[in-house]
Amino acid sequence: MTDKPDLDALRSEVRAFLAAEAPAEWRDTSRTQEDFVRTQRDWFGKLVKAGYAIPHWPAAFPGGGRSLAEQKVIYEELAKADCPRLLLSFVSTYHAFATLHECASTEQQERYLPRILEGETWCQGFSEPGAGSDLAAIKTRAERKGDVYVVNGQKVWSTMAQVADKCLLLVRTSSDGPKQAGITYLLMDMQASGVTVRPIHQIQGDEEFAEIFLDNVEIPVSERVGEEGKGWAVAQATLASERGLTLMELSYRMRGALSRVAELIRDHEHEEDRGVLRDFGHLVTQVDAVCAIADQFLDNRINGIERVGDASIVKNSYSRALRAYSKLGLRLGGVEEQYIAPITFGDLNTGNWMADFMNSYAWTIAGGSEEVQRNIIAERMLDMPREPKAWVA
């Protein structure tokens, strides 16, 4: 594929930058949570300086003002060069940015956006133990007392909350009417009194997520985004902030990582096992197809012809390919894979096949489970009847 000339130029620039600056041994320096965070901060700082960290921000910001086509070029090159994913700064530069940019007051924007470029990190306080797929069921309660909201409750599945400075927080300010109507959107300081963060011990040993306990946390009313009770609409802006780039990037990374499966085939001398070759060939095709659809999805966005449900198809096909990828590795690796080996924090295609396998569940469960996506595809693309609101047994 050949891009337009300006895209070609950008691609060359990015490649030159990456050739010089891409961290080579980042996996080795991501074996603990602390090292991982340090590696992430370093890399983000370099990208900010080079002007590739926030291509989707307005042109007023350094490195901003890039078209989606240009963003795609940057992410393609980051994936091909096998750089660390921008996990730590992801919520800040996408979710927090979109929320602030689209819904917040000028004052809030001016206060927070520049700090993100300086490395301030955000986390998202949306999900709760009782509100996963059914996000509007949140129960964390905020009571207004004068100039502050007093917040009590618990959040869960908050990416990197343990090291975050700020939090995008959904709270319930009213229980009247439809669930969505009583939700308010706040910006919370993670250092505030009453905030306790407990990392979630994930089954593969990673600690990408945390729980946040809120015990009479006082949040100034000035930190509210939008009106009281109108937080659900703001949350939609947050959730819509990134659609497509990540899955395109991850699909390309998975394609690059097929070499890890090839390595296993050679190491275990399966080069002439026709069954293994067929299964590998099938996986290669599946991964190529996921790259193709992720690409197509972004092209459609660039051309303004994205349809409802497209994102669900990309997500489900990526997550199933990732599962297939890690399962083939697990199978070919044999008993050796059952011995614990060091994990790489924040990476999905590490060649530690048990860890990769477990990580693949993050994609069939989190961010709208596979089942929720199936509902969207059936109801919104195939126009099948919606889930009933209630039923009579």
Binding site: M1, L258, S259, A262, E263, I265, R266, E271, R274, V276, L277, R278, D279, F280, G281, H282, V284, T285, Q286, D288, A289, V290, C291, A292, I293, D295, Q296, I313, N316, S317, E371, Q373, R374, N375, I377, A378, E379, M381, L382, D383, M384, P385, E387, P388
Partner: protein, 336 residues
């Protein structure tokens, strides 16, 4: 893009979805008139000079209606003739562009040369050989036109489950190849084979996915209409989710197809991978479709089985998934 949409619209008007498998001979006249035989023929050779996207869009629509007309082998046959250095090339091109039919065979040929150079054996899997002037086949000496009425050539229909198409064995018995009808020599046959194979795989993939879309549409429509337990069965979540998975798989296979179509450098394995995935998805969709139709899907009354039977044949054309998955795996292993 506009060009493609126009082609698609014209195809849907000429071959409306309601009329599955319209008559072969009428269809053949129609596709000839619409210029679909010459869609890929360069303008300076009297063709439309359109690219792979255009032919793909047409094959997609022909798949959707389970077309009976052998457009894919016809286009490939013409392409083979066009690529040749045969003396009578331009006459043949003109003839074929005008509606004569010289299909490329899509299944393997098993031929043996006798001491005197004559050939015997079977060229299997030739579509609609009964209406062919000649068959484009790979003989030991290279690609050639084999006239079906030549001495030593007979044509036998072999009935297939897929009632939307007709397959023939072209049997050679002491056939003496006409040097004037050789399209390549033995050495350059494999280069032509690779070119034709790429085109064939992508065309078949389009046929699969057009048909898979139609089968999915029929199924979703049926699920909304069919009621059991006082509700449309489309309301049962377990069934809805299966429809969603069908849609997902079709969409993904389509994306791979189009990425292959748009990449002029795509190697044979990449094109074959796109066809393999498309055929597997088509088969999966039709299998699920029959289950979701329930009893009616098992009767000839309802058309859904016709899609399944075409899917099963398509799996085998130009090499089975087993064959190609292995080759794709082997090549990927060599490259990584």
């Amino acid at each position: 893009m506009i060009e493609l949409n126009e082609l698609t619209d014209a195809a849907q008007k000429a071959f409306p979805a309601e009329a599955l498998s319209p008559g072969r001979d009428d269809s053949w006249r129609l596709v000839t008139e619409m210029g679909w035989l010459i869609v890929r023929l360069p303008e300076n050779a009297g063709g439309l000079g359109l690219g792979r996207e255009a032919s793909t869009a047409i094959h997609f629509e022909m798949g959707r209606v389970l077309a009976t007309t052998p457009l894919i082998p016809a286009q490939l046959g013409l392409q083979a003739v066009l690529a040749s250095s045969m003396a009578g090339r331009s006459e043949w091109v003109e003839r074929l562009a005008g509606g004569a039919y010289a299909p490329l065979h899509l299944l393997p040929a098993a031929l043996e040369a006798a001491g005197d150079g004559t050939l015997s054996g079977t060229i299997g899997g030739v579509f609609d050989a009964d209406m062919a002037a000649a068959v484009v086949a790979k003989l030991p000496g290279g690609y050639a036109l084999v006239p079906v009425n030549a001495a030593g050539v007979t044509v036998h229909e072999r009935p297939i489950w897929d009632a939307s198409r007709r397959l023939f064995d072209v049997v050679l018995d002491g056939y003496e190849a006409d040097p004037a009808l050789m399209l390549t020599d033995a050495a350059s046959a494999s280069a032509l084979h690779d070119t034709l194979a790429c085109e064939a795989h992508l065309a078949l993939a389009a046929d699969c996915l057009g048909a898979a879309n139609a089968a999915l549409d029929l199924t979703v429509e049926y699920m909304k209409m069919r009621r059991q337990f006082d509700r449309p069965i489309a309301m049962f979540q377990a069934l809805k989710h299966r429809a969603a998975d069908m849609k997902t798989q079709v969409a993904v296979a389509e994306a791979l197809l189009w990425s292959g179509v748009r990449d002029a450098q795509a190697p044979v394995t990449a094109c074959a991978a796109a066809k393999t995935l498309a055929a597997e998805v088509f088969a999966f969709v039709t299998e699920e479709a029959i289950q979701l139709h329930g009893g009616i899907g098992l009767t000839e009354e309802h058309p859904i089985h016709r899609f399944m039977k075409r899917a099963m044949l398509n799996l085998q054309l130009c090499g089975s998934p087993d064959l190609w998955n292995e080759r794709v795996g082997r090549e990927a292993l060599a490259l990584r």
